[in-house]
């Protein structure tokens, strides 16, 4: 559930979960009694199940940041295959802008974060997630203009998306001359702050054919974590969690990079698509900046990327992974605002925390044999 205004002042965070769930059930033609699995982040699965009148036999709720929903999908697939549940509801709801009923994040003065990072004065992800990028730029001689191009290209997709928060065309100069948030990141290189929610329903493929809408099949999934402290990443030019999650999903799906028609890479900040393209193996190390600048990911390019406009221009309520998954679903259903013609395989790759976690989901609109 997303609006161009970017706010839902009438919903609490739990209410956003519930409304997204209600719409997803409506879409699937089922009700709470048909659902026996619940997973969510940003609210407890217990309160979500109670609130929605669900009696679950499967409860899942890893909350590892914005990619939590990629992990929920992966676990739901395993749960369904192993019989833990037949139909799993995964919800996201976040009053990211309005802050209504929004829970706090854990932490204390003795936490690793407090002792080894927080005292340096970061103001949230814009000053933390961005820490490694200067080393990346220097190592691979990537320019600020190439970093800015990530935001420019995604705005081209957002212009086609009626629900996108930011739709006005933008140039590299616009991006670089915008208000500085945390050098070298200007405002358009940082994600939006909005309200929003989304939900998915997963079930076995033989059951999905009875639903009124076109099913999308999960081909492969992967997940991993690296560190809760961005300063302790093994390599500032690459995410280990990405390098584990992405290839795991590709192996499980049994596909090659050339098979991928559509790609979502969680873009809380402009450098993430660069890291994602490289760590998932779509391009070589240090090549992603040129790959995007050369137009490969823009509308009509050979690898359409973040086709909803992304966290930079579409919406970002705080844990964006749900929207990346939804855009992949829409692309596979053929209902996306910026539809990639003939797309058969989509990869949705998420990050959680500041390079702390990662989840990858590969989908297709063709039933795997």
């Amino acid at each position: 559930m997303v609006s161009p205004e970017g706010v839902f002042p009438e919903y609490s965070q739990l209410g956003l979960h519930a409304e997204a769930a209600r719409r997803a059930m409506q879409d699937a033609g089922i009700g709470p009694k048909d659902i026996d699995g619940v997973a969510c982040a940003g609210a407890s699965p217990t309160e979500t199940a109670f609130y929605l009148g669900i009696t679950p036999t499967y409860v899942d709720g890893p909350s590892v940041g914005g990619c939590s929903f990629m992990l929920h999908v992966r676990h739901a697939v395993a749960a369904i295959e192993s019989g833990l549940a037949t139909t799993v509801l995964i919800t996201h709801g976040e009053s990211g802008k309005s802050g209504i009923g929004r829970g706090g994040f854990p932490g204390g003065r003795q936490s690793l974060n407090a002792q080894f990072e927080a005292w340096t004065g970061p103001m949230g992800p814009p000053t933390m997630f961005t820490i490694p990028v200067m080393r990346y730029l220097k190592t691979y001689n990537v320019s600020l203009e190439q970093l800015a191009m990530v935001a420019v290209v995604q705005r081209e997709y957002a212009a086609r998306n009626p629900n996108a928060r930011m739709k006005d065309p933008m140039t590299v100069e616009d991006v670089l001359n915008a208000r500085m948030i945390a050098y070298p990141f200007t405002l358009p290189m940082c994600c939006l702050v909005t309200d929003g929610s989304g939900a998915l329903i997963l079930t076995a493929s033989d059951r999905a054919k009875d639903f009124p809408t076109k099913p999308v099949y999960i081909l492969g999934t992967g997940e991993s974590v690296e560190t809760p402290l961005v300063s302790q990443m093994e390599d500032f030019t690459s995410s280990r969690a990405f390098r584990v999650a992405g290839p795991t999903a590709f192996r499980e799906a049994g596909i090659k990079h050339d098979d991928v028609d559509h790609l979502m890479i969680y873009d809380a900040f402009a450098h993430l698509p660069l890291y994602g393209l490289e760590d998932l193996g779509f391009v070589g190390k240090g090549e992603a900046g040129a790959f995007i600048s050369d137009g490969n990911t823009r509308p009509g390019g050979k690898l359409p990327l973040n086709t909803n406009g992304g966290g930079l221009s579409y919406t970002h309520s705080g844990m964006y992974g749900m929207y990346a998954l939804q855009e992949s679903v829409r692309q596979m259903r053929g209902t996306a605002p910026a539809q990639v013609a003939g797309a058969k395989i989509s990869v949705a790759h998420g990050v959680g925390g500041m390079f702390a976690a990662s989840g990858t989901v590969i989908m297709s609109n063709e039933k795997p044999s």
């Binding site: 200067m134 302790q232 500032f236």
Partner: protein, 174 residues
């Protein structure tokens, strides 16, 4: 907050009576726009745990105490009772050199209460091979002054009787 060089361990805060003012317009005559201690850290002062106590006790005396694997000699950070590369190996505390290089940073244009923007949030790579997040002090907070790979040295900032923070500055004579 702009002012003269001062002894490196100095508490700036609401009640601080040091010779320079927190007001940027009240620069001293010798001001070179070099920041001495950037922030009032008192609100964000961490607390040690049993596992990290020697680290924080060392900093109180101006020493950077970290740990290493006794067999391999390889340092690790942040402190914990075992080496994550080999949790069964013996480990020991030792005093790091206090030398390192600027690995990466941002310059934040927003400041939490008690902090002065714009300011750098940086990661220093120590000579011993480990990384730590820090603020670079005694240095203009600009991309021109903050060059990757520049040599840095430990310049701790005292916050309270328990906590002295491992701030760093450009190495003298570099």
């Amino acid at each position: 907050m702009w002012g003269l060089h001062l002894p490196k361990v100095h508490v700036h805060g609401r009640h601080c009576d040091c010779i320079h003012s927190r007001n940027p317009s009240a620069k001293g005559p010798d001001s070179k726009l070099w920041q001495v201690s950037l922030h009032d850290y008192s609100r964000m002062a961490p607390q040690a745990t049993p596992e990290t106590r020697p680290y924080w006790d060392g900093l109180k005396e101006g020493k950077l105490m970290i740990q290493r694997n006794k067999q391999t000699g390889k340092a690790y950070f942040p402190p914990r009772p075992f080496d994550p590369a080999d949790p069964f190996a013996e480990v020991e505390w030792f005093q790091a050199s206090g030398k390192g290089i600027l690995l990466s940073y941002v310059i934040s244009h927003r400041a939490p209460p008690g902090y002065e923007a714009p300011f750098s949030i940086a990661v220093v790579e120590l000579e011993e091979g480990v990384k730590m997040m820090t603020n670079i002090i005694d240095c203009p907070q600009t991309p021109e002054a903050l060059q990757l790979d520049m040599p840095l040295e430990l310049a701790p900032t005292k916050v309270n009787d328990d906590i002295t923070l491992p701030t760093w500055r450009p190495a003298k004579g570099a």
